[in-house]
């Protein structure tokens, strides 16, 4: 029998990580919250084995990732059909123009601002590119593993990641350079 207070403290320790993993993949707070909820319910069923395990963080991350990818593949066809025009708008959005102009009195962005800018730029990427980039950089998956997970070719994975990096370079490089990077 699981002690509820122990599970609450376990959740407090890992909820941000699980929610962030899901959010960066699905790009929606509401969906990420649903996925985080399912992940913790699954964790509750295995809590007796998990609480003593040193790899519990990795287990939660993998479950959240797989659930996010399942969610994306389930809704991909529907999403593509219904949000065609929205994607076009999304791709055309000039993120740099939406950000406030650099302050001449404060040339370098402080770390907090910089992170906010990077996180926001990441969320403006088209979903295909964002997912491939997140799996590569945050989840440390290889091109082959990403291709297998997303059921697409390695060529497409490489193209998506390359395009995502180029988009982020256009949007972020001047700001990071101003901050001394």
């Amino acid at each position: 029998m699981t002690d509820p207070s122990q599970f609450e403290s376990f959740m407090r320790d890992y909820q941000d990580m699980v929610f962030t993993t899901a959010f960066r993949l699905v790009g929606s707070e509401a969906d990420a919250e649903d996925i985080a909820q399912e992940t913790f319910i699954k964790a509750y069923d295995h809590f007796n084995e998990l609480r003593a395990s040193p790899t519990v963080g990795g287990w939660l991350k993998t479950v959240a990732r797989n659930m996010s990818l399942n969610h994306l593949s389930r809704y991909r066809a529907r999403w593509r059909f219904f949000s065609e025009s929205e994607t076009a708008e999304h791709e055309q959005r000039d993120f740099a123009a939406e950000m406030p102009a650099p302050d001449t009195h404060q040339e370098a962005l402080d770390a907090g601002d910089r992170r906010e800018v990077v996180e926001a730029a990441l969320q403006t990427l088209p979903p295909d590119q964002r997912v491939a980039l997140v799996l590569y950089h945050f989840q440390d998956l290889s091109y082959e593993q990403i291709a297998a997970n997303l059921r697409i070719s390695i060529g497409k994975v490489k193209t998506d990641i390359h395009r995502a990096r180029e988009t982020l370079r256009r949007k972020l490089a001047p700001r990071l350079a101003a901050a001394g990077f």
Binding site: M11, V18, F23, E33, F82, E119, F138, L176
Partner: protein, 159 residues
Amino acid sequence: MEQMKSKDENARWEAILDRELKSLPDRPAPASLMPRVLAVLEKRARMPWYRRPWWSWPIAARASSMAFFAALLAGITWLGIEVAENGSPGVVTTLVGDCVGIAQQIWVLIGLLVDALALVLRQAGGGLLFGGIMLCVLMYLSFVGFGTVFYRVAIRRQQ
């Protein structure tokens, strides 16, 4: 030369980006997440045992269910062997006979409905059939069209 320079630049940007992305802190989970999870777990705990996943059933219930399914499997196997060795035994013949009787009645009913429909179409001519198909197509298209518009409006509002 240009190509090498561009390759170096790409590798440098990849390293910078990787460092930047990995240094991003986790986003705080919504305050509603924990109460939601705890509510689901509480609701699940209040469920009667037979509506919970099988592995969380009481041991006695798990043992009885296993015994029941083992007996069922044994029964099916025995019936299979019986049919293979001696032809269809009495019980099976009766059961199959009943099923065939019901299926025959359903088949006759379907035949009657199809005949009636064909008669109506012959009387009304091809125009009615064409009109009906067009109406279905129109309804389908308007369903997809309205669905798309409502979905896009809803998504835009959410953002």
